[in-house]
């Protein structure tokens, strides 16, 4: 065919036009012989090259793989083949683009192949769209497959038209499309299907039915939803609701129990806000549903006497989403106090997350009060037992004293009388008589002491008064003033922390007198005697301390004897060992105790706890 001017003009317009068509020709050495404007732009954009006639195209393609691919294609065209390929090109920095390339040889007037031509159509955009469509189709398919639904289309006559998703096979599909509901179900269910279809189409609304099918011996429940698709067709979505139905039935059972139990039942959300209460709750607390919904039970059920520690346990358990079982004081709407036993459990969903709390609460006021009473009784009994033990010990001591301190002088007296009878010596007789006298005096003395002790022990209700300790101290110091002056003792007192004492006056006077006189008696000659009285309060009891810097007592040796009768530890003419014994009895009779700390040649401290009820108000 001869190239006419028209052809040339046409060609030129193609090559030079702004139409975007990419077209180029190469000679047998792969050098550009002609190219369209668009191709120039493309090569600039992709390879960053300004092409000219004579540029080797292969040298322009920088990517090895692409270059080799191009060369192969060029050679094919140069062989005389016309062909089309969809290829991917582009350098790595750019998006890879897709092209539909049309290759062909260029023949000269003699039909010799002088080169090749390539027409490039960029199909990147359509390719992307196609991919996007493929992806969305896949997504839709996976969504459909994950639904436990069977979805199919059925027509107004009951014929299955199409299955869109078919996870559930058994029971619903005995044969495929073209079948009729009567083929797949028994008469009853088939009837319900056809009714639902016609209702759905007529009213143009969604219809739902549920039914049961027996498969492999077990029964399963299904819910079928009929959605009008068009005038003649219905989309049916079937879901296996066996599990859900079971749960629902259980819930109904539970709610029946919850409804009828006299205990309070609460269901809250995961944070503890009330979602549901039963009638029992209202009966116990007097609050109605409206008054409590969305509130936390703790915000209105607890009050002043509700134990803070227990409340903390509840709060922490809810926060940690663990069960708890506690007892505490609650208040009804009208303010009545009652003891409640709360047993709460978290409820989890299938994923294991806590979604609610379920609590049963019972009024255990009666039992609780009973428990408290028992505890009180127990404490009282323990105190009584301790008291009795102490009294018992005292009694044993007492009998020992009686046996020894009485038997000795009595034994002596009778022996002395025998000797008196057998003696002829006048001076000896006088001796014996003098011993008789002292023995009987000793006996008398013992009798009196024991009497005093008995008076203390069996005093019964001895009268207590509010005593000013300062006044007693002044009185006793006055009585012993002579002795104080004689030895130059410094006797001081500080009753500021507990100025008063509720006590029998004769006892406290005896105690202060004995302790002061003791301290004065056993002073250390080599230093100035300091004696100090102090009183203070601890837990509703009054305590008193008497400190001196005198001879002290070897407690390791004598500690166990210090308060016993007639025990002396010093070679002192006036040591008779009666005072401490007496005051100990007095102190213990009033429910208190006396203790001593001492270091030999350093000093002694007596510590008295006057006992409960010694704190006068």
């Amino acid at each position: 065919m001869q190239l006419t001017t028209a052809h040339t003009d046409f060609m030129r317009s193609i090559l030079e036009g702004p139409h975007g068509m990419v077209l180029f020709t190469l000679d047998r050495d792969y050098r550009y012989t002609a190219f369209s404007v668009a191709h120039v732009h493309v090569m600039k954009a992709i390879w960053g090259v300004e092409i000219t006639v004579g540029t080797s195209m292969l040298e322009v393609i920088l990517d090895d793989v692409d270059r080799n691919k191009a060369r192969r294609n060029f050679d094919r065209a140069l062989q005389g083949e016309y062909f089309t390929l969809v290829e991917e090109y582009g350098d790595v920095a750019h998006l890879r683009s897709f092209y539909e390339n049309h290759y062909g040889p260029v023949k000269d007037s003699d039909s010799h192949i002088s080169g090749l031509s390539v027409l490039v159509i960029d199909i990147s955009e359509p390719m992307r769209n196609e991919n996007a469509l493929k992806q969305s189709e896949e997504r839709l398919r996976s969504v459909l497959n994950s639904l436990p639904d069977l979805i199919f289309k059925i027509n107004s006559q009951g014929y299955y038209l199409e299955f869109l998703s078919n996870i559930i096979q058994h029971g619903h599909i005995r044969s495929l499309a073209g079948a009729h509901v009567n083929d797949n179900f028994d008469a009853a269910i088939a009837l319900r299907y056809t009714e639902a279809i016609s209702d759905c189409l007529r009213n143009k609304t969604i219809h739902t039915i549920d039914y049961e099918l027996i498969e492999n011996g077990s029964s399963r429940s299904y819910e079928a939803r009929f959605v009008p698709f068009n005038n003649k067709e219905v989309l049916v979505l079937v879901q296996d609701i066996t599990v859900r139905k079971k749960k629902d039935q259980e819930l109904v059972k539970l709610s029946l129990i919850a409804k009828h139990t006299s205990n309070a039942v609460i269901i809250t959300d995961a944070e503890g806000k009330i979602e549901w209460i039963n009638e029992g709750f209202t009966r116990v607390t007097e609050y109605t549903v409206d008054e409590v919904i969305n509130k936390k039970p703790g915000s209105f059920l607890q009050g002043q006497e509700s134990d803070e520690n227990v409340l903390a346990v509840i709060r922490d358990s809810i926060r940690s989403k663990i069960p708890f079982h506690v007892e505490l004081i609650n208040y009804t709407k009208s303010g009545r106090k009652y003891w409640v036993n709360i047993n709460a459990q978290p409820i989890v969903n299938e994923a294991g997350d806590v979604i609610k709390f379920f609590a049963i609460e019972s009024d255990v006021t009666e039992r609780k009060l009973f428990e408290i009473k028992i505890l009180e009784q127990n404490t009282k009994l323990t105190a009584i037992a301790e008291n009795l033990t102490r009294k018992n010990t005292q009694l044993e001591e007492f009998t020992q004293i009686v046996s020894h301190n009485l038997r000795s002088p009595i034994g002596n007296i009778s022996a002395l009388i025998e000797h008196l009878n057998s003696s002829n010596d006048e001076s000896e007789r006088l001796d014996i008589i003098s011993h008789l006298k002292s023995s009987s005096e000793s006996l008398m003395l013992t009798m009196n002491e024991l009497n005093e002790v008995l008076k203390i022990k069996y005093a019964g209700h001895i009268e207590k008064q509010i005593i000013e300790l300062r006044a007693v101290f002044e009185k006793v110091s006055g009585m012993l003033q002579l002795q104080i002056n004689e030895i130059g003792a410094v006797v001081t007192a500080d009753f500021s922390r507990a100025p008063q004492l509720k006590y029998p006056i004769i006892y406290i006077e005896s105690i202060v007198l004995n302790l002061l006189s003791n301290a004065l008696k056993y002073y250390a000659a080599e230093r100035k005697p300091f004696i100090h009285f102090e009183s203070w309060k601890e837990d509703n009891q009054i305590l008193m301390r008497v400190t001196d810097n005198g001879l002290g007592v070897d407690l390791a040796r004598y500690g166990h004897q210090i308060f016993k009768l007639r025990k002396t530890f010093h070679k002192h003419p006036e040591s008779r060992g009666v005072g401490l014994f007496m005051i100990r009895n007095q102190i213990e009779a009033m429910g208190g105790e006396i203790n001593v700390i001492s270091d030999v040649n350093v000093g002694t401290t007596f510590l008295i706890n006057f006992g409960p009820e010694s704190y006068g108000d």
Partner: protein
């Protein structure tokens, strides 16, 4: 040894008892000086000071329980610690008006106590005691 030569120590705070006992012992025939101590402290101090002088030490020691300063039991504690120094074998007899079985059992089991006598001690009993020690 004749009973008149036995040295006896009386450890008791009761002066009437001391008087009665020494008179009784003399009437039995013992003429030696009777050592008299009015509490455990005096007694132990004497023994300690005379530990190496046998003729000053007693052969027989009658020990009361209830005494001031050092009672009978405390005396025995001190005694066991100086026992080895004492160059004489001393027979210790506990004499007490205590009828407490605790005391009696304790005395019976004590290695340093030879016997336990209950006050008042009869003359016959004293005779027995002295004759046993003379042998």
């Amino acid at each position: 040894m004749e009973i008149k030569n036995i040295r006896i120590a009386l450890v008791d705070d009761d002066s009437s008892y001391q008087f009665l006992t020494s008179r009784t012992i003399r009437s039995i025939g013992n003429t030696n000086d009777i050592l008299q101590f009015y509490n455990g402290l005096e007694a132990i101090q004497y023994l300690s000071q005379n530990a190496h002088i046998p003729q000053e030490l007693p052969d027989l020691l009658l020990l009361d329980i209830n005494m001031p300063l050092l009672d009978g039991w405390m005396f025995l504690e001190e005694y066991s610690s100086i026992k080895d120094r004492i160059e004489k074998e001393i027979n210790i007899v506990m004499v007490s008006s205590s009828i407490d079985s605790k005391d009696i059992d304790r005395a019976r089991q004590h290695e340093d106590i030879a016997d336990y006598l209950m006050k008042p001690v009869s003359i016959e009993k004293f005779k027995e005691l002295l004759e046993a020690n003379a042998a």
